[in-house]
């Protein structure tokens, strides 16, 4: 079939303070109707620049197409070189013949317009429909993206819809004029895994029904495996490798592709393995040589959480009185042993982060007990709590926000040591040096500022800072979620290495099931503030018993093109609200033990 898009030797430049920066260079690919081309790469690889160039939106970001042709076959059969088209022509093509879906569904919709207005504006502009005809068409579109009660949705505002609904509306908008090409730039990155599964299935169905060409931009190899017909792997603005999805995953030719694939944790990889295992990264000999034989552990309990409950007030009215409560953490109990990792998994809003923060008393729990090494954290006064914090440290999600931009790295790593007066002078300097060695950072980085480091390096600094006071427990709140996949694997390996060497215990909070399978000894699945299922990692993954765990696991994309899961329309039960009126007394959590150590919440 004739290609609908052919990009030929594209080069995009950006003018910056420091001179011209090449965004992408020598990028060529084609897309046929009914085909999904995935462009995959890590941050800074130029994948988004490529898609923006195709829409000629790259100019709004200060870029210029300096070389190459972007040929697009228009609806009337004529061939348009997007690179040379006039702005007038482009505004007719954009949104009409090429549709686009962005990453963040909330920002892609204007919060002050109803869904109807957002949908009908484009229809009236591009297709010249009357108001009533446009509304009728809008209802049809919402039906085609499987939004229930479309007539009612039209009268609603974006904030009244859930994240998945919003992204469906964005897709409906992109589909409004029946584009021949759909560009999806990380359309599911900001979404929870069950919603991601729904959206991916929806894009697949629309592609099949309308014969659309899809240009799918993502950093997630698992999503690529699920969606792509053909794959373009990009690195630093250039194409590394192109091929069918099977070729790329089963027989990658280039080293970069191989390294990228080796770094992707694949759900099911750990089947039959008793203990967590480091990832076998290419070029990381230390990890390869690492002996991963499970050491016999002393089954000593470090952290015990009993009936932990945290509620936040919802204020309302003129007097700002508490009108309701968010039950963020509801009757949660678990234990964590020395040298082990307990992972808390769940979707956004399930209370996993609140749970971690409540344990460290960064937020005050409403009730319940937290015992660390035989001390009741909840009973400590301010002074003792500060002292106790030396034993429990935290690593945060965003390595760009968790370091103070105005302080040198050595000062930030030294700060916890100084706080507790553990060392000073030459001894302090020595300790900081050792910590940099420990997290495999060059000593030369000590005098640098955070902005001079990459995301992975910053996260290593954050880990070094957490290690500074020799804690027993580290709460890692989505500690690898913001990192590129190859960096994520390295940081995961580092964390596992530190655990083996120092006997650390991790409370590993994450939404990523594949990562959790890799690092955890025990897994707790959280839903609406409660742990619905908890047990040894193998038990929870091999024999998921609670319906929520089952649906969560079935929604995880698998990095294997032979295991396609999102072919037909999927519909997961939406997560209900954890907000309850004042005085609401929820039932206590009662568990059934389905296997030794494997507990499931009774319905």
């Amino acid at each position: 079939m004739k290609d609908i898009v052919s990009v030929d030797h594209l080069r995009v430049e950006f003018a910056t303070d420091g001179g011209t920066v090449v965004g992408v260079e020598d990028v060529s690919f084609t897309i046929a109707p009914g085909e999904t081309l995935c462009v995959v790469g890590e941050s800074g690889s130029g994948k988004s620049v490529t898609s923006l160039a195709l829409m000629r939106l790259v100019e709004f970001g200060g870029g210029t197409i300096t070389k190459g042709a972007l040929n697009f076959v228009r609806s009337d059969g004529s061939i348009l070189d997007v690179a040379a088209a006039s702005p007038q022509v482009m505004s007719r093509v954009r949104g009409n013949e090429i549709g686009m879906i962005f990453q963040e569904p909330m920002t892609a919709l204007n919060p002050v317009f109803t869904i109807e207005r957002q949908l009908t504006d484009g229809l009236m502009l591009h297709e010249g429909l009357s108001q009533s005809a446009a509304t009728a068409r809008a209802v049809e579109l919402l039906k085609s993206v499987r939004i229930p009660e479309p007539e009612r949705r039209l009268k609603q505002y974006p904030h009244e819809l859930s994240g998945g609904m919003r992204q469906r509306v964005v897709i409906a908008m992109a589909m409004a004029c029946e584009p021949k090409l759909l560009i999806a730039d990380e359309p599911t990155t900001a979404l929870d895994v069950t919603i991601q599964a729904e959206i991916l299935a929806l894009i697949n169905r629309l592609k099949r029904e309308k014969g659309m060409a899809v240009l799918f931009i993502t950093h997630d190899m698992a999503v690529v495996a699920q969606m792509a017909d053909r794959v373009v792997v990009m690195y630093r603005g250039r194409i590394v490798e192109t091929g069918t999805v099977e070729q790329i995953f089963e027989n990658p030719q280039e080293d970069y592709t191989k390294a990228l694939l080796a770094a992707v944790p694949k759900l099911g990889d750990m089947k039959g393995k008793p203990a967590p295992e480091r990832m076998r990264l290419i070029g990381d000999e230390a990890a390869r040589a690492a002996v991963t034989a499970a050491k016999p552990r002393k089954p000593q309990v470090l952290l015990e959480v009993k009936n932990l409950t945290t509620r936040f007030p919802v204020k309302g009215g003129i007097l700002r009185r508490t009108v309701a409560q968010v039950h963020a953490v509801e009757d949660v109990s678990f234990t964590l042993k020395v040298g082990e990792t307990l992972a808390l998994v769940g979707e956004s809003g399930c209370g996993k982060s609140s749970c971690g923060r409540s344990i460290l008393r960064l937020i005050e729990p409403t009730s319940g007990e937290v015992w660390i090494g035989g001390r009741d954290i909840g009973a400590l006064n301010r002074h003792d709590l500060r002292r106790a914090r030396a034993g429990m440290q935290m690593v945060f999600q965003d390595p760009f926000a968790s370091l103070n931009p105005y302080r040198r790295l050595k000062d930030q790593v030294a700060e916890p040591i100084q706080n507790f007066g553990l060392a000073s002078g030459a001894e302090l300097k020595n300790r900081v040096l050792q910590l940099f060695d420990r997290v495999h950072l060059p000593r030369a980085f000590m005098n640098r500022f955070p902005h001079e480091l990459s995301g992975g390096q910053r996260q290593r600094v954050a880990i070094a800072r957490a290690l500074a006071v020799n804690p027993k427990l580290i709460v890692a709140d989505e500690a690898v979620s913001a990192l590129d996949v190859s960096v994520q694997a390295q940081v995961l390996n580092l964390m596992m290495e530190l655990q083996e060497d120092l006997g650390l215990s991790y409370l590993f909070i994450s939404h990523d099931m594949a990562v959790v399978e890799r690092v955890a000894h025990h897994v707790g699945v959280m839903y609406l503030g409660r742990i619905v299922e908890i047990g040894p990692r193998a038990a929870v993954f091999d024999n998921p018993t609670h319906p929520y765990t089952q649906s969560l696991l079935s929604a995880v994309p698998i990095a294997d093109p032979r295991q396609r899961r999102f072919v037909d329309d999927l519909k997961f039960k939406p997560i209900s609200s954890p907000i309850f009126p004042l005085g609401h007394q929820p039932a206590p959590s009662i568990y059934t033990e389905v296997a030794p150590g494997h507990h499931v919440l009774q319905a």
Binding site: A390, P405, N419, H451, V469
Partner: protein, 271 residues
């Protein structure tokens, strides 16, 4: 772009050095009484060889008066702004960092002050304390404090929610240390920008007070006083407004350029 920035900084620094030089050395080198000597025959004389900047309504030489006024104006403006920073910074920092009850109490206090127009507040303070330079500084300093405190509070509120503040707290850093090491450096750019803008307003506020007889006392000279005096003769002797006006404008320009550069110097990311 980079070269432009350094040029801008250089211009700012040269301007400020020039103004400082005039303020410090000026009163020493000009003939005594030159700024107050009246020449009734040459009232409102346009710029000429004898009077390069012209003369005012009493025939006083504007060049000498501008030179003499530099010291008064700068002294009052800089001191007043420094005072408002000294008062407003801890107020805003504590309010924004701790939030809650402390924030409510401090900000209601600030709101009360804000409810009065700044000039009226300065006027009241100055009237109560009596007209002299120190009291003018106190009056303007106090009157500007609530604006600065409000801005600093907003910034502190933003910074206090950053993960690095939470990280510091979770590693046992005390509140005082967090404010000093983590919050303060991150709100400094806003303080610098607001401070340089305030300086220009402080020069004009001093003029307002002087006009009402509460600031600089004639026959002493200040830029503000000169601008006020020129008010009703703009059509016949525009230079009487232009000369001190230009002095204010150049000072503000220099300060703004210098402020921008200072902010960049303090920001490790801009290097």
């Amino acid at each position: 772009m980079k070269r432009f920035k350094t040029t801008k900084g250089l211009i700012g620094i040269v301007l400020l050095l020039l103004i400082a030089l005039v303020a410090i050395v000026g009163p020493m080198v000009i003939p005594p009484d030159a700024a107050t000597a009246m020449d009734m025959l040459a009232r409102r004389a346009p710029p000429s060889l004898a009077h390069p900047f012209g003369t005012d309504q009493l025939g006083r030489d504007l060049m000498y008066r501008v030179i003499l006024g530099t010291r008064t104006s700068m002294e009052i403006a800089v001191s007043a702004v420094l005072m408002s920073i000294v008062l407003g910074l801890p107020l805003g920092l504590i309010s924004g960092y701790f939030g809650g009850f402390i924030d409510n109490v401090l900000m209601r206090l600030v709101d009360t002050l804000l409810a009065f127009p700044a000039l009226l507040l300065a006027l009241t303070i100055s009237a109560v304390l009596g007209p002299n330079i120190q009291n003018t500084i106190i009056a303007i300093g106090v009157a500007f404090t609530p604006y600065l405190a409000r801005i600093i509070r907003g910034e502190a509120l933003r910074v206090a929610q950053m993960p690095y503040v939470e990280a510091a707290r979770s590693s046992g850093t005390t509140d005082g240390m967090i404010m000093l090491r983590h919050v303060l450096p991150n709100i400094l750019p806003a303080v610098i920008v607001q401070g340089t803008i305030s300086l220009a307003f402080a020069i004009l506020a001093e003029a307002g007070l002087s006009f009402l007889g509460l600031g600089t006392q004639p026959p002493a000279a200040s830029w503000g006083l000169m601008i006020q005096a020129s008010r009703d003769q703009l059509d016949i002797a525009p230079w009487t407004a232009l000369v001190p006006g230009l002095a204010v404008a150049l000072t503000v320009l220099g300060l703004n350029m210098f402020g921008d550069v200072l902010r960049d110097i303090l920001d490790p990311r801009a290097k």
